[in-house]
């Protein structure tokens, strides 16, 4: 960073600084990587908004089948939410541990994050299996198709996130806190926190509004 800054002050931008425009040169790789991943996350959120739109349009089309208020178990949803919120917190702890180069703390925080994510997936899988067992599978009505598509898509994201988490634990174990590994960790933390934001929308719109109305 300092090298590029010094190099640039000898060249053209030196004059620009006189009229108040300061050029740092190219942004550090960490900034570029984080920003690019942020754009990906926003496009992912736009994709989820399509699933939300289809759910909102189809929520009343039950084809004589059960409504959400007859199907959803809010207690299980509350535990799932708690798991994801806590996992977001422990993921934050892992980022702090990585920034202070505390490998043991990092691995422990990531392991706890992984266990909480797996608990979330287990609860969601149990809920889906229960719905299918009582004849409310995705083929029952348009409402249930859109429900399984939306909630299942979030669940697949969590599964992918857990695979990524385990990869990061292995990479830190094998390669240590190199600069490229730290950039991947930044992206993983962004991904995990963004999944939490989407879950907030899911439990509010699907489960709470579904059983309140």
């Amino acid at each position: 960073m300092t090298d590029t800054t010094l190099a640039f002050t000898h060249g053209g931008p030196h004059q620009l600084a006189d009229i108040g425009i300061v050029h740092d040169g190219p942004a550090p790789k960490r900034i570029v990587t984080g920003y690019g991943f942020w754009i990906f996350l926003l496009s992912d959120i736009v994709m989820f908004s399509c699933f939300f739109a289809s759910y909102a349009v189809l929520v009343g089309q039950t084809a004589g089948g059960p409504h959400g208020s007859q199907l959803f178990d809010l207690r299980s949803v509350a535990v799932e939410t708690g798991c994801l919120l806590l996992s977001s917190f422990t993921c934050g702890l892992a980022s702090i541990a990585a920034d202070v180069r505390n490998e043991r703390g990092f691995q422990v925080a990531m392991a706890v994050t992984c266990i909480l994510g797996l608990a979330f997936l287990a609860l969601e899988g149990r809920e889906f299996a229960g719905l299918v067992a009582q004849g409310a599978g995705p083929t029952r009505s348009a409402f249930l198709s859109s429900f399984f598509a939306l909630v299942g898509c979030h669940g697949m994201h969590v599964s992918a996130g857990i695979l990524w988490l385990l990869t990061m634990m292995a990479q830190v174990f094998a390669k240590g806190f190199r600069a490229d590994i730290l950039r991947r960790l930044l992206c993983f933390a962004l991904f995990w926190h963004a999944l939490d934001i989407i879950w907030v929308a899911v439990f509010s719109v699907v489960y709470l509004l579904g059983s309140a109305v």
Partner: protein, 130 residues
Amino acid sequence: MSNQVQEMHDHHDVAPGDEDEVRVGPRLLGYAAGLGLAILLTAMSFFIAGTDLVWQPSIPVAIVVLAIAQMGVHLVFFLHLTTGADNTNNILALGFGLLIVFLVIGGSLWIMANLNHNMMPMDQLMQMQR
């Protein structure tokens, strides 16, 4: 010269998720505050969804407002988005993303409600096809 370099360091961008603080204490406190607020807001929405203490038609509005508040808490405390000058790019991208999200969801609901409103009731339609 060194003054100028110092000034340049003050203008650097931050990546989304980045924090300026390197010390552990304040960052830990930030995550803990975010977790506390998120749990509080979640508990409130779950409580409001099941209660009959408030006027019933207000419940969906309250749940939506609490959800938006909680997303804001997550963005600020976990993703570290701020209104600072170094975060302008991240905020602009977020703003554009939100515009698309509202167009997709609002537009779908609007169009489908309009179609439903203008469509003949299903039983009449079925009779016409016979």
